[in-house]
């Protein structure tokens, strides 16, 4: 009986932490100060099962699988026009308030439209030159969840 209980608990833990609530460590500074380098969190896979990512939400973007993910913030959705002017974000020509961006930013990016079934994601730390920051539009299917906190 004890062994069965151990087996069931192990199976539950494997399924839960392996597929539903995946633990990860943050490596890199692109989401600072919201998510500091070295922090630990969980990717909740069911977050966007019945809803779509909204602007200002932080999402996990997958690569080939779920072992490596990018943590980014959604700033625009499909059909919207995104641009950066002197470090300020503009969506459809309107300036967007971003209280989570704490470091100085001087980015300039010409207007571009977010394609169908895509979202536009950017990190919170924009203190580096625009060429050195990994951001842009990504397919909706690559968003596999959101951090738990």
């Amino acid at each position: 009986m004890f062994l069965i209980r151990v087996f069931l608990v192990s199976l539950f833990a494997y399924l839960f932490f392996g597929f539903l609530c995946i633990p990860f460590t943050i490596q890199g500074i692109s989401m600072e100060p919201t998510y500091p380098d070295g922090g630990v969190n969980f990717c909740w896979r069911l977050r966007y099962l019945f809803s779509e990512p909204k602007r200002h939400e932080v999402v996990a973007v997958r690569f080939a699988g779920s072992r490596v993910m990018l943590l980014k913030r959604v700033v625009a959705r499909e059909g919207e026009q995104v641009e950066f002017r002197a470090g300020r974000l503009y969506v459809n020509g309107k300036e967007i308030e971003e209280p989570y961006v704490r470091f100085p930013c001087n980015w300039n990016l010409p207007t571009r439209r977010v394609e169908k079934d895509c979202v536009y994601v950017v990190g919170d730390n924009r203190s580096m030159p625009i060429e050195g920051h990994h951001f842009g539009q990504t397919s909706r299917v690559r968003i596999i969840g959101a951090p738990l906190w």
Binding site: Q27, G28, V61, F63, A64, G65, S66, R67, V68, L70, K72, L109, R112, V121, H134, F135, G136, Q137, T138, R142
Partner: protein, 166 residues
């Protein structure tokens, strides 16, 4: 009791047989993955690496590729066909800028769309430190095409997938 003993011995022998068969005759998927592990091992560089090891690794890297091997990248200047010598030379030149380098591969999905052709989708992460002390951490998703020749798998095409399009 004697019968159970024989039964257990039989089961044990079957298990050992299966394990040995998998080791001696690895599946094609394992053979393909082995090529990636070799690539990772030869691209990686430890701070203590000597010149002889470096030269050997440079030569070895080239042997993993078909001639020519096509590279497709969102960065147009890198796209094109490369010979083994060019790949070895580029790898050697790139490695020389780093004091240490580690190529990690994750989530390898192997498919066989045709006979003697393997398509592999994976995440590659290059971590290292340049000789100037700059930390490097680059992640890319890759689609690789490998072809089998003389019972060995060779990279014939590598495509860098653009995850985020500025």
């Amino acid at each position: 009791m004697v019968k159970i003993k024989y039964l257990l011995a039989g089961v044990l022998m079957v298990i050992i047989g299966i394990v040995l068969a998998t080791i001696v005759f690895p599946s094609e998927e394992k053979r393909v993955k082995k090529r990636f592990h070799l690539l990772s091992e030869w691209v990686s560089k430890s701070p203590e690496e000597g010149s002889l090891t470096m030269l050997q690794k440079m030569k070895d890297i080239g042997t993993l590729f078909l001639e020519p091997c096509e590279l497709k990248s969102p960065n147009e200047s890198l796209s094109g066909n490369y010979t083994r010598q060019e790949i070895s030379a580029y790898a050697g030149s790139a490695r020389s800028h780093f004091s240490h380098l580690h190529l990690k591969l994750y989530d390898l999905h192997v498919a066989f769309p045709e006979k003697e052709v393997a398509k592999v989708n994976l995440t590659a992460r290059l971590i290292g430190k340049s000789k100037a002390g700059e930390r490097v951490d680059e992640i890319r998703e890759l689609d690789c095409l490998l072809k089998k020749m003389d019972r060995k798998w060779f990279f014939s095409q590598i495509e860098v997938i653009e995850i985020l399009k500025k």
